[in-house]
Symmetry: C2
Subunit: 409 residues, 2 copies
């Protein structure tokens, strides 16, 4: 295969917003997505939020002809929502579930139940090994006071570490997904800096689509307009990133996004716009450039900034660990007090019947409820503290390595 | 570094049995372990069941002189219990938490709370890249009726997949840990076959220690004698495994185990015996042998056998998912019935007061309790089913690849 001409690869990425019972006109949109994918004939399709395995199976049946290979990543209660369709054989797969992903009691946000993960599929095309990653990070529900920032940063860090450790034998690395981060956010700078991945939008020779490459736009009839008020053009949170690892060169010739409604239809494919990249991959003499994407002094700043944010999250988690622990102890004390009162009454110490049975038992049940709930939350926050500490420590180690490197050379 | 002579590496592995408040003479034993490690001066120390971070910190202080590099892997409520001490700089680390690890309601077994994982540390010695893995799989509480076999097989599979995907740039792979599997068990055959790892005990030129290399022996005063009754010599469940990935050769010159009491003491280091290997690593021309450790037709049998066991677990998990779901529905129906009765009474439909208040509220609380508990368990078994299905599917893909390979060649 040496001396091959350029390989042209068309990649499609979309957050499908296919939540059973909740997403509007879901089945219709899944049909539309399937029709379009069959028509367009991409090489590689990376989808997120395909929560229903039935939707995946329907797509699989429909796309069997043009994308004979596919993989659905199962995880969590609801699933990871991630799947991949490919024109080329999938050689191997691996799933890595993020250690933190929001809070189980934030039912209205629901991220915790999804088992957010990064999926890896390995594909070989014309002798070139592609490590293709698909992921979906924790949503940002309030940009001004983003309570999930530390969790999303832990995810961005774990994503970067997972890519670094698993892509060492790859020729080309591709990552597609809804990262729930704006291009200038610390998490995406961390991910790009620590892995060396390049942003297809920034690198594209030719671009066509929503202004600034936005993928959540006010023009889309399914987006919540009030959330986009501070961003009249919309926001860019869905990405295709890539890099060549050794002896290869990747160039983004063209990047496109969909723009609101699907062609010839009255509805869009999803509340997100799809991102479509045409990549040119070519062998080249010598190794690829430096492994890290950002100049190292800048990377030090980025890791430091990320570590600080993780530290903020760590202190908040420690406070919650403490307050849930205290609540559990108080509930236990109340129960013990009641038990003592009952024993006292049984032993005839108290004159008569000092407390009405009904409210006494209700209070006991309340105390048991609070005890169980507070204990569960306490255990959860113990795990949260552990994982934030682990990430902070890993970042510290990384910083030390970055700072020591120049003196080694 | 080309043309180097043989590199000699001394590796130590021990399950330390250091559970706070539960393990006998824990602090004394941790001190003993630290003293011995300092005296012996191994190159690499892989420990399991160091649940208390304080114990790790104490060891770190004591061993700082001879093992200047170390890493503690945090995860789960209690922790992963895994840590590594090294004479050589640790370049990078990664933790992978197994997706299944027993049941939260099996409090007496407690594995679920430990966040069982595999930890990876990357070390470079004389220009040779070592990927060193340390792990601890789910315990086997009853060999005749091992309810945890499917979970342990999922763990063995995920361990093998994690090693395969992360070790592609390594020159030498080392794995140490308490695998909770006998040498002939399907899980260990799967792990060895799918990764190509070799068993230091089986390969050692010279062996010294407990008969058959056993690491849980009746002679150890902390082991439960009744559990070892069917195995008069004890069992071998702690391993050091290794392989050379490319252009290197690894040979196990010597393997030792401790034998009950620590030298000159009245107690052993742990309820497990330590495993100590002396490995010789040498560059050699050409690539290493085949990547898979077992002849492929045999490997097909092993993966088939493992897949069958995972299938058994899957059906059991599906049954539990169903019965917990049914229980939740029944509790919900009871609550609705009670609500209807209350509404009826309020509307004056019922003549008088048909039910005593106290037992009525107790029944309601009971129903709420059962509803919450059954729902929690149902969610847990949904995840269990998902992960067993995912593993079964991955094994099926692997089998297809194995069976297709000969026709490709």
């Amino acid at each position: 295969m040496e001396g091959d001409p350029t390989l042209r690869l068309r990649v499609f990425d979309l957050n499908c917003w296919a939540i059973r019972y909740l997403s509007k006109r879901r089945q219709e949109r899944i049909r539309l997505i399937g029709d379009m994918l069959r028509q367009e004939g991409f090489d590689l399709v990376l989808l997120q939020e395909v929560w229903s395995e039935q939707d995946y199976s329907d797509l699989k049946v429909k796309l069997g002809g043009c994308y004979p290979f596919s993989h659905y990543f199962r995880s969590g209660v609801i699933g990871s929502g991630l799947c991949v369709f490919s024109r080329f054989p999938i050689l191997d797969t691996l799933l890595y579930q993020y250690s933190l992903n929001g809070y189980p009691y934030m039912l209205q946000h629901g991220d915790w139940f999804c088992g957010k993960s990064v999926g890896l599929v390995i594909i070989k095309i014309s002798g070139i090994i592609f490590n293709v990653y698909v992921t979906h990070l924790h949503a940002e529900y309030c940009r001004e006071k983003d309570a999930y920032l530390p969790h999303r940063l832990v995810q961005a860090w774990e994503l970067a570490q997972f890519i670094r450790h698993t892509s060492k034998a790859a020729d080309v690395v591709l990552l597609g997904g809804d990262l729930n981060m704006h291009p200038e956010d610390v998490g995406i700078r961390l991910l790009r800096g620590w892995t060396g991945l390049r942003d297809a939008f920034a690198e594209a020779t030719h671009f066509e689509g929503c202004e600034d490459g936005c993928t959540l736009v006010p023009n889309n009839c399914f987006t919540v307009k009030t959330e986009l008020l501070p961003f009249p053009l919309g926001i860019r949170i869905d990405y295709i990133l890539y890099k060549a690892v050794s002896g290869f060169m990747v160039k983004c010739e063209e990047l496109k996004t969909t723009t609101g409604t699907a062609p010839g239809m009255d509805i869009p494919f999803s509340d997100h716009e799809a991102v479509m990249a045409t990549l040119h991959i070519r062998r080249q003499g010598g190794a690829a450039g430096a492994n890290l994407g950002t100049a190292e002094p800048t990377l030090v700043d980025v890791v430091t900034e990320a570590r600080m944010e993780v530290g903020v999250g760590l202190r908040a988690a420690q406070r919650q660990r403490y307050s849930t622990g205290r609540m559990a102890v108080l509930a236990l004390l109340l129960l013990l007090l009641q038990a003592a009162a009952v024993l006292g009454a049984l032993a005839g110490l108290a004159a008569g019947q000092p407390f009405p049975k009904l409210s006494f038992s209700l209070l006991a049940f309340l105390a048991i409820g609070v005890l169980l709930l507070a204990t569960g939350l306490h255990l959860f926050h113990i795990i949260e503290v552990k994982m934030l500490q682990a990430t902070e420590e890993q970042m510290r180690t990384a910083l030390r390595a970055l700072q020591e490197r120049p003196s080694d050379g």
